[in-house]
Structures are given as C-alpha cells and as structure tokens.
C-alpha cells in the first residue's frame, strides 16, 4: 500500500481509510508530530523539571573537570607544588562522581517521564480503540492494533532515551562550552569558532541529504513490511496458489530496494562523522598555532591550550553523533505518525459526534421505569434496513416483541437473523427505519443504559483468562453465594461435576481457573457459563443466539434446561435452531433474504400454509 500515490476511495469508511494507512507515511512534519505528542508529555512536567535541574548540573560538573586539570597543571604541577597534587586528584574524582550521580538522576527522571508518557499513550490508544464501533474492527486487523500499542510505543520511547530530549542537553552543553571559552580567552575562542561556519554548513548539508534519504527509507520500509504482513496474513492462500517462490522473488526486490536506500544515508553519515572530527582537529591546530605566538606567558598559555583542547573535543562529539540521533528520531517519528493515524481514525461507537455524548447522556434521567408502557412493545423494529458495505442484509424488517413474550426468529443462514442482534445492541447502526425499546428510539438511549437493559447470549461464548467467578460476574460485584446460586440454576454445577475428579473445576468451584479463550471449557460448558452470566445480570430483555455446535445429549439436556430457566418470565428474542424453542415461542418470525416473510404463532403459521407450514411438514415426516 505504501507507495500508492492515489489511495482508492473507500466506500463505507467515514473517515480515513485505515486499510491504506501506510500510504500517507512520511508526509507529516516532525514538528507537527511533536506538537501532538506534547499533551501526553505535559502531565509529567514535574519530572521534566527535575530533569532540567539535573541536566545543567551534570554539564557543569563535566565542564569543571578540564578547568580543574588546567588549574592543577599551571598552579601546581608546572610550578612544582607537589604537595597539592593529592588534593587535586581527589577534587577531580569528586567532580567525576558528582557528574555521575547527577547524570544518573537526570537520566532517571527523563526515563520515568518517558515511561509514564508511553503508559498514558498506550492507555489512550486502548481507550480509543475500545470506543470504536464494531465495523472498525472489521476493517483493521487485530495484529496492527497490537503493534501500535506495543512495538510502536517502544520505539517512540527511544526518543526519550536517545533522541529529541538529549539533543536539548547537547545544545546546552555546547552553549556552555562556548561561553566558558569566551570567558577564558576571547581572541582564542573567536579564532576557534572560525571553524563553526564550516561546521554549520556541513551539518545542514548532511541533514538535508539524510532527510531525503530517510524519507525514502521510511517509504520503502513501509512497503516491505506491508508486503510481508500481507503474505503472512494470507499464508494459506499463498501456499495453496503455490505463490511462495514468486512472493520470495518480489520480496527480495523490495528488500534490495530497502537495502539500497541506506547507501546514501550510510555515505552521508560516515562523511559527516569523519568531517566533523576533522574540523575538530583543525580547531585544535588553530589553538596551537595561536598559542605559539605567546612566548612570554608560557605556563598560563599551556593551561589555556590544554583546557581549550578538552573543550573542543567535548564540543564536537555531540555534533559528530548527530546523525545517529537523527536516525533514532526518524524511527520514533515514524512510530508516532502511525499512532496518531490510528488515533485520528474515528468511528465512534454509539454516537455520530464523539464519545462525549455517551458520557453526558449517561447522567441524564432514565427514560424507562416511570409511567406505564404496557401498551408499547418491549422491542420494536420498524422498517429496518441495513447493509455491510454494498450488499443489503436487511431490507425493511418489522418485528414487535411484546413485554414478557418470547419471540423466535427462524430463517436460513444469511437471512439476516444475526444482524438483527447486532443492530439491537448498536454494534452496528441501522441504515433506515427505527429500533425502539419501550417506544424510545435506541439512538436516544445512552449506550451503557441500552447495553445494560439488553443482554446477548451468543453462539460463540468468549471466556476470559481468569477464574470462573470472574467470567460469570464480568466486572460486577456479586457475593459467592449469588454466583453459586446462578451456577446451580443454569445447571453449570452439574456440567462441571461430569468432568470427574482431579480437574480444578471438578466441584464447580467458582474459583476454577479459566485458561485463555476458555480453552479448558467445552462448548456446552461455555454455553452454561454464558447463561449464568446473563442470569445474574437479570436483563430486561434477553437476546439468545442458539448454538448449533455439536454437544452430547446429556449436555444438550442441561443446556435446554438452562435456557428455560434463563427465559422464565423474561422478554426474549431468540434466534432459534431448536425445535422445542421454536414451538414454545409466543411468536415466530420467519425471515428470508433480509425480510420478514411470515409471522405468527405456531398454530397460525401452520394453518397459513407458507414457509413455516412446509417446515412443519418436514418435522412431521421426521417425527410421526
């Protein structure tokens, strides 16, 4: 994707097409990125302040060392005051230790600021991602979101460790050196700085070379990674089509392009490093040349020469290593660009305008509970249309679920049954029509309230790593007694007892461990866990997507009893696959191709002689 100049238009993606995210890399200006980073850094200004206090201290201790050496040389060594030397040596060591201590504190505060900033950014990305609607996750692969929160954050952290902020310290040090040199010997200092214009021109030239180089590197790196990512994600297809060797050839070409992009950068980097070093040596030569003219003040001049040479060395080292820091910065900037691109992809869950409305609306009065709504259906879909992209899934669906009733939806795979669930909980937004709860459009309801009133039990029950209690309580607080009661009511205790001794969950203990993705629970057990979850939440409206997965007859019976317990006296919309569920429903809705083609009670529909009657007939043929 990376180098496609004209990204294709993305229908159905309201903001930025996230699929082509590498396309715009390298366009954002670094300064703009730094400005965007600032809000994350600002809360840690106290740490940065502490850093800003220790940083000049470290520099002062460091720059005092050549001065002390000069003092010892001119005042004691060259004048033969040998008794003062131990003290000089000790004082020198004291400066070194002070520098080390100060440097440790300086770096520690900087690291802490950096780590806290990264922690804040990681949390911000997490919050941002979780607040997106479900369609967002259909478009952006999970792997990419993970990379943003882990690897990209780590490389951004490098900026604190080695990049932009240490650059400030270098600058302070260089200014300090200039000031000290001017104070010691103005003429000699000015003579030394005669090399500076060359240095500035060189650095600027090298910087431009490297900037161009790095832009190319960034683009090619992105292209290479996009290619690898694509082929690894589609490995099954790659192998089935026997494209391995072709892909390898193409990858090699992109890889070679990436390698060659560095040729220029390596040349620029090596030249800059060496030439800066050479300019430093020339500056030293200038100092010697100047000093040789002062034959009278022999000893003092030697001291000046020694101290100048030390300072010149210290002055040139940061310049020499500038290109390396520049490289680190480039990596960090590329990472932050990707992170901000993700943060700019806004497809908020529940509202069109942003998450703020969810929060404020949640504080408002609850629109249900007061008044008598018995005349209104608990759930109502009126003329609902919906499509995933181009293909219509629902084409004008009308369903009314009266309070306390059980409505079964039946229909072929792809008839749109499951989509109804997703629209009811606003995982997706309907395109046309209205969905109402007690006569209130669900878009008027705060999202948390809507999702509190409706509980969905889906076919694929997802369990989180933790304990059974965690998985049933799901973030709410219940007493162990409540949890155990729920487990008993849905029959989960009996299901767990079937496991036999030994297993941690053998006794149906609420502390039984749950492995990642619930892999130590069978499909049937997972269903029962979901029932227990729903039972404890005691929702106003239950939505049940019956599982079609195979379970043994004994588990089947437990599940059937669990479902019955759960549905008792509750408004229920069930996507039915089981004969018993369908027959017992108060109302059966038959869906086909995104439309409701029939509805009524079992008896009505049989009498009507349509779809359902045909179904009925096959039932009868099956069970005479």
């Amino acid at each position: 994707m990376a180098v496609i100049g004209t990204a294709p238009n993305q229908p159905g993606a309201p903001n930025q097409p996230p699929g082509s995210e590498e396309a715009t890399l390298g366009k954002a200006y670094d300064l703009a990125l730094v400005r965007r980073l600032w809000p994350f850094v600002r809360p840690h200004w106290k740490l940065l302040l502490a850093w800003a206090i220790f940083m000049p201290l470290t520099i002062a201790f460091e720059l005092a060392q050549p001065a002390l050496f000069r003092y010892a040389l001119t005042e004691h060594i060259l004048t033969g005051k040998i008794d003062a030397l131990p003290l000089d040596a000790i004082a020198y060591m004291a400066l070194v230790v002070a520098q080390g201590g100060s440097a440790f504190c300086e770096t520690w505060f900087l690291q802490l600021a950096g780590q806290r900033t990264m922690h804040a950014m990681r949390s911000a990305i997490f919050d941002h991602v979780l607040a997106q609607r479900a369609a967002f996750f259909d478009r952006i692969p999970v792997g990419r979101l993970m990379t943003r929160m882990t690897n990209d954050i780590e490389s951004l952290n490098e900026m604190f460790a080695q990049g932009a902020i240490t650059l400030i310290a270098d600058l302070v040090k260089m200014v300090g050196i200039i000031v000290i040199m001017l104070l010691i010997d103005t003429t000699l200092a000015l003579l030394t700085f005669a090399t500076l214009p060359f240095l500035i021109v060189l650095v600027e030239y090298a910087r431009r070379l490297m900037r161009a180089s790095f832009r190319q590197i960034r683009v090619r790196l992105a292209a290479m990674n996009a290619f690898a990512q694509e082929h690894l994600s589609g490995i099954k297809v790659v192998q089935l089509l026997g494209r391995g060797p072709t892909a390898q050839r193409e990858y090699n070409e992109i890889n070679a392009g990436h390698r060659d992009a560095y040729l220029g950068q390596i040349r620029a980097d090596a030249s800059m490093y060496a030439i800066v070093e050479a300019i430093g040596t020339v500056a030293v030569a200038l100092v010697i040349w100047y000093a040789s003219g002062h034959r009278a003040e022999n000893i003092a001049m030697i001291g000046v020469v020694v101290v100048f040479i030390e300072y010149i060395n210290k002055f040139f080292i940061p310049v020499r290593d500038l290109s390396q820091k520049y490289a680190v910065m480039q990596g960090a900037m590329a990472a932050s660009e990707r992170i901000f691109q993700l943060l700019d992809t806004k497809d908020w869950d529940g509202v069109e305008s942003g998450p703020a409305r969810v929060a404020t609306a949640a504080d408002g009065p609850e629109p249900f509970g007061g008044g008598d709504h018995s005349d209104r259906p608990a759930v109502e879909l009126a003329g609902v249309h919906f499509s995933y992209g181009a293909e219509p899934v629902l084409r004008g669906v009308d369903v009314r679920v009266p309070r306390g009733a059980t409505v079964a939806v039946v229909g072929a795979t792809g008839s749109g049954k499951s989509t109804v669930i997703k629209l009811l909980t606003r995982l997706y937004e309907r395109d046309q029509g209205a969905i109402r709860l007690d006569g209130v459009d669900i878009r008027e309801l705060p999202l948390p309230e809507l999702r509190r009133r409706i509980t969905v039990v889906s076919q694929d029950v997802i369990l989180f790593a933790g304990t059974l209690a965690d998985n049933i309580a799901l973030g709410k607080t219940y007493t162990p007694a409540q949890l155990e009661a729920a487990i008993r009511r849905v029959g989960l205790d009996r299901a767990l007892a079937r496991r036999g001794g030994g297993g941690a969950g053998a006794a149906g203990s609420i502390d039984a461990p749950v492995a990642e993705r619930g892999s130590n629970f069978s499909a049937g057990e997972r269903q029962l866990v979901a029932f227990a979850r729903a039972l404890l939440r005691d929702p106003e409206i239950l939505i049940l997507d019956e599982a079609t997965a195979h379970v043994d007859p004994e588990a089947e019976e437990l599940i059937e009893r669990g479902v019955a317990e759960l549905m008792k006296g509750r408004t229920t919309l069930v996507i039915a696959h089981r004969l018993s569920t369908i027959r017992n429903a108060d109302l059966i809705v038959v869906m086909d191709k995104g439309q409701v083609v029939e509805q009524g009670t079992h008896a009505e529909l049989v009498a009507r002689g349509g779809f359902y009657a045909a179904l009925e007939r096959t039932f009868r043929r099956q069970d005479p």
Binding site: G242, A247, F464, G475
Partner: protein
C-alpha cells in the same frame, strides 16, 4: 562481541551471515586501523607543540600545525571508508537474513500461523532483524574502534612513559569487570521487560478478539483497569531495566576519568622529578581523553550485544521451526485434463487428545460433486483442508488418482486443486491480478505499487491482465460481472489491503473466480458463498453447475440450495460420517441431515413440496 558465546551450543552464530562479506569487513577494519594510527598523531603533535611553545621557531610550529591538518584529513578519509565498508556489509547481511527468514516463513504450515500471531512474526522480521543488524554494523565498528584505540593509545603511552602509563591505566581492567557484571543484570531486567510485554500483548489480543462481548456487556471499564495494570507493570519493569542501564554510563565514565586524576598525581610528580616533559603530560591528557569515548561506547555496546543476542535467539528459534508439512519426495502428479479421483481411506486426525476426524472413508469419483454438511465444529473444514494437505495426514490415507498425497510435491498437488475458502483473502492488487493468481499469473504487487517500484528500484511493471480470457471467464462464472460494471476500473480496480474496498460477498466471489480460473481438476468450495446474498448465490450456483461439469468438486455449504443437487452428500457429526447419499435419500432416511435441513428452512427447496403462494415474500419462481 560474538553473540553466540553465551547461547546454547545448538544456536548457530549470527556472524555466519557476515561470512560472505568478510572481504569488505576486512577492508573496513584495515581502514579503522589506519584511522586510529593517524588519529594518534594529533595528541603527539600536541605534546610537541606544547614543548615548543616559547622555544621553537615559527617554521617548526607551522610544520606541526600543518602535520595536524594532514592527520585530520587522513583520519577523515580512512574513517569514512571504514564506516562505509562495514555498514554496507551489515546492510547486505541484513538483506540476506531478512530474505532467508521470509523464504522460511513462506514454507511454514498454516498450523504454525494459527498458534503464532502475525504481529509476532512481523516483529521478528522487523525489530529483531534491525537489532541484529545494529550489532553487525554499529556494534562491529564500535568494538573494533574501541579495541584499536585502546591498543594504539596504550602502546604510544607505554612507549612515552611506561611507569606513569601503568599507573593511569590501572582503572581500565575494572571496566571489563564492571561490564561483565552489568551485562548479566541488563540481560535479566531486559528479559523481565520482554515477559511483561508478552503478557500485555496477549491481554490486548484477548480484548480485541472479544470486542463484541466487551461492548454488549459494557466491560470497557473492567478490561481497561486490567490493561492499565498490565501497562503499569510494564512501566515498572522498564524502569527497573533503565535503573541498571543508566548506572553503566556514569560508572564507566568515572572509571575512565579516574585515569585523569591519577595523571594529575603521578604525572605531576613525574614532571617535578623531570621524568616527563610538560608536553608529555598534555599529550597524556589527550590520550586519556581519547579513551573515554571508546569506553563509554563499550558500555552502550554491552547493552546492544545483549539485545542483539536476545533478538538473534528469537530469529534462530523461528528458523529452526520446521514446516510440519514436508514436501513429498515422490514424483509429481502426471499432468492430465481429466477430473481427479480422490480417495480418503480410514482417515483419523487428532488435535491434542481430541479426535477431529475419525475413520473417514470417502471416494470422490471423477466428475462428481460431493457436498459435506454438518454442524459447526463437526470437522468439515478440516476434511477439505486435509484434501489440499494444508493439514498433515497419515501416509496412505488420502489418494489422488491413486497417488498418496504425502508422497507428492506440494506444488504438484496444489496445482490440481482450486480452493475457495470461507475467509476470502485477497491481495492488495487489482481484481484481475487476484483472479489470475489462480493459474499462476498475476502479480502480488499492486499495479500502482509496481509502477512506483519500477521508478525507485527499477523493477519491471506487471502486465495488465484484465483482458485475459481466463480472467474474464472466471469473473463471469463467479457472478462478478454485475459488480464490475459499477467499478470505475472494472477488473483493473485495486481492492485495497485484504480486499477492504469490496464487500464480504464480493471478496468471496473474487476468491471463487480465482479458484475457477485455475481450471482445477478438483474444485473445493469451503462455504465460500456464505456472505453472498441468497439471490446472487442462486445465480452463481446456476453458473457453477456448468463450470463444475467435468470436474470433481467438493463443497461445504450451510444452504440446502447449494447442495441438494450434489451427486453425494456426506453428513459429518463430531468428526464421523454419520450418513451419506443423495438429498432425497437422506431426507427420507431422517436423522441429522433432515434436522439440519429443517433448521435451514431454505424456502427455495421447501417450496416445491408445498405449492402455495404467500404474500410477504417476493418469492421464488
């Protein structure tokens, strides 16, 4: 330096990758040697100049200054070349390593990718390779430079004044001791950071995989708390690591600076006792200053080498992962235009302890259509994956035209099969390229990207395949024509990453067209029309009957319309074949098939038995 020294014996050294470039590296190191020799001239001249101040003539001073300038230029030239040789060699070795890894990754079986997230593999291919390259390039330059600086500087110092030299270099052996001790601590804390990062990553993965549950149950707050805790633990581990790492610099600096303190004391005494000239003292201070930077670089190098070692281990681990589906050693399948005959003989497959398929016996006669039905998790997809050998099967259990698939070269087997999976995966190129891949043509680089690559790298642009008859025929058979008409570029439309610009149904149909374009002898459709709306599916199925004529086909579908005309229908339940026969036979027999059939409630097939009209539906004729 050698990254392999502390690793287990089985780990090959990363330096093997540098072997092809040893000539370049030798040049680079030779240049570094010269650099250090020339660089030594500067403090030497400095010392002479100091001794000369007040005594010598202008001409001698001018000579000294001139010599310094000459040394500066020579140092610069050799320095530039040393860095270019070594860094370029490191980049070249990086290319080889990356290329090897990618090639290896292409051979690993789908089961590996089921266990390993792609993000994890990508991180190895990018970050770990970069770290190893940094060891090769920057690490090698720094190490060679530091060693050469130590040897050359110490040599000159010993030559000038051995006694003072021995005193001032006294602290330097400590650098080694400190470095050794610290590198162990650095490695330990870094491992802790990696562990926390791993925990956090799997947490993120768990949350993103469960996003619908998190939303519908309003779990954002709970999951966030857990995430923040994990992120905070990572922060702490990072700070623990930082604490160790940032001690190293000041400690090494102090050790190096101790030399200066010793010089003040011992050098001063030596001067007073006339054992050293003032110029020699100044030169010594210059020499010692020369050693500070290499010492500090060594500290950085230690951390780098530790990181490089960890990265290299991860790469070796990846490279040592063997593909669990080896290429068959036997001769390739003889070429033929006739439909394939496939036999499955007593096939049993187990994951862990669970049997996924048990005692499957099945024959696909040439030119027949076999449908596989069953509930979710009954083993349908596993069975068709086994036919394509995407899953390793016991020898002799699957035969194609009488040849055991495990003896066939994979390419030869898969060339016979056109496979359209449920999760249609498209490459970010044009639709025509995607279809043409079915018969080995097409490029995996998008046309636009190929053009850009041609510009920047000089790579040949791909041919435009949109008028290729095979492509257009396959697109038509897969019911794509209606969609292509409304796309501005038609078959030349670029589909975006993973085909994101297309709808789910469109993606599935492009994948179907790709499978058909191969004119396969065995066509496998794994629920490959599940996202296609029923109306379009009906049209496609009509086409397909024609396309499947003269081919052996296997199809999995949840829709009765798709399977009722199959020559045989196989009903799978919990990994076993529980029934087989035609639609009518199975319906008459009752059992699981008729149960599945009922719940499908497909009106198209229900209708003929009940010829009544109904008002609500637009109906079927």
């Amino acid at each position: 330096m050698s990254t392999d020294a502390p690793a287990p014996a089985a780990t090959p050294s990363s330096l093997g990758y540098l072997r092809p470039y040893r000539g370049q590296l030798a040049w680079g190191v030779a240049m570094l040697l010269l650099t250090n020799a020339f660089y030594l001239g500067v403090p030497e001249m400095l010392g002479r100049a100091v001794d000369a101040i007040g005594k010598q003539t202008d001409r001698e001073i001018a000579m000294i200054v001139l010599w310094m300038a000459v040394f500066a230029v020579l140092t610069a030239i050799t320095r530039i070349w040393s860095r270019i040789w070594i860094f370029n060699a490191a980049r070249a070795a990086e290319y080889d390593l990356r290329s090897d890894l990618f090639g290896h990754l292409m051979t690993l079986s789908p089961s590996y990718y089921r266990k390993t997230p792609v993000g994890d593999v990508m991180s190895r291919l990018t970050n770990d390779v970069q770290t190893v390259r940094a060891v090769w390039g920057f690490g090698l330059v720094s190490l060679a430079n530091a060693l050469l600086a130590f040897v050359s500087v110490l040599g000159v110092m010993l030559w000038t004044d051995p006694i003072v030299t021995l005193w001032v270099i006294l602290p330097f052996p400590l650098i080694y001791v400190v470095g050794q001790a610290m590198s162990k601590r650095i490695f330990g804390t870094m491992r802790a950071v990696q562990a926390e990062l791993g925990t956090l990553s799997s947490r993120i993965q768990e949350d993103l995989g469960a996003i619908q549950v998190i939303k519908t149950y309003g779990l954002e707050g709970v999951r966030r708390r857990g995430f923040v805790e994990g992120s905070d633990r990572l922060l702490r581990a990072n700070m623990d690591a930082a604490k160790v790492r940032i001690q190293l610099g000041p400690m090494l600096n102090a050790l190096a600076a101790l030399g200066m303190a010793l010089l003040i004391f011992f050098g001063g005494r030596a001067y007073v006792h006339d054992d050293m000239t003032k110029g020699e003292i100044v030169a010594f201070s210059g020499y010692l200053a020369r050693l500070v930077w290499p010492t500090l670089t060594l500290g950085f190098l230690l951390a780098l080498v530790q990181r490089g070692r960890a990265s290299w281990m991860r790469l070796v681990q990846l490279q040592q992962t063997k593909p669990d589906i080896p290429d068959g050693a036997g001769p390739p399948l003889p070429a033929s235009d006739l439909p394939a005959r496939v036999e499955v003989k007593d096939l049993t497959l187990r994951y862990d302890d669970r049997a996924v398929l048990e005692h499957i016996d099945l024959t696909l006669e040439p030119g027949t259509v076999t449908a596989i039905v069953g509930r979710t998790g009954s083993g349908k997809s596993t069975l068709v994956d086994a036919l394509c050998r995407l899953i390793e099967v016991p020898p002799g259990t699957i035969l194609i035209d009488g040849h055991d698939v495990s003896t066939l070269p994979l390419a030869s087997l898969r060339a016979q099969i056109g496979y359209a999976p449920q999760e249609a995966f498209l490459f970010s190129t044009t639709i025509s390229d995607n279809i043409a891949m079915g018969y080995g043509a097409g490029t995996a680089i998008p046309a636009a990207r190929a053009r850009e690559l041609e510009r920047v790298i000089g790579m040949a642009a791909s041919a435009d395949l949109r008028d290729e008859p095979k492509v257009t025929a396959a697109a038509a058979a897969a019911g794509l024509v209606r969609d292509l008409v409304v796309m501005p570029e038609g078959l030349g439309t670029i589909v975006g990453e993973r085909g994101i610009t297309l709808s789910g149904g469109q993606r599935q149909r492009v994948a179907l067209a790709r499978a058909l374009a191969a004119s396969p002898r065995l066509l496998v459709l794994d629920d490959s029309l599940s996202s296609v709306d029923a109306e379009t599916e009906r049209l496609i199925l009509k086409h397909l009957r024609a396309v499947m004529h003269g081919r052996t086909a296997v199809l999995i579908s949840h829709r009765v319309a798709a399977i009722k005309d199959a020559d045989q229908i196989v009903v799978l339940d919990a990994g076993r074949i529980v029934a087989r026969g035609t639609h009518h036979q199975l319906l008459a027999a009752g059992g699981l098939y008729s149960e599945l059939y009922r719940t499908q409630l497909d009106p198209e097939t229900t209708q003929p038995t009940t010829p009544v009209t109904f008002d609500a539906a637009e109906g079927t004729k």
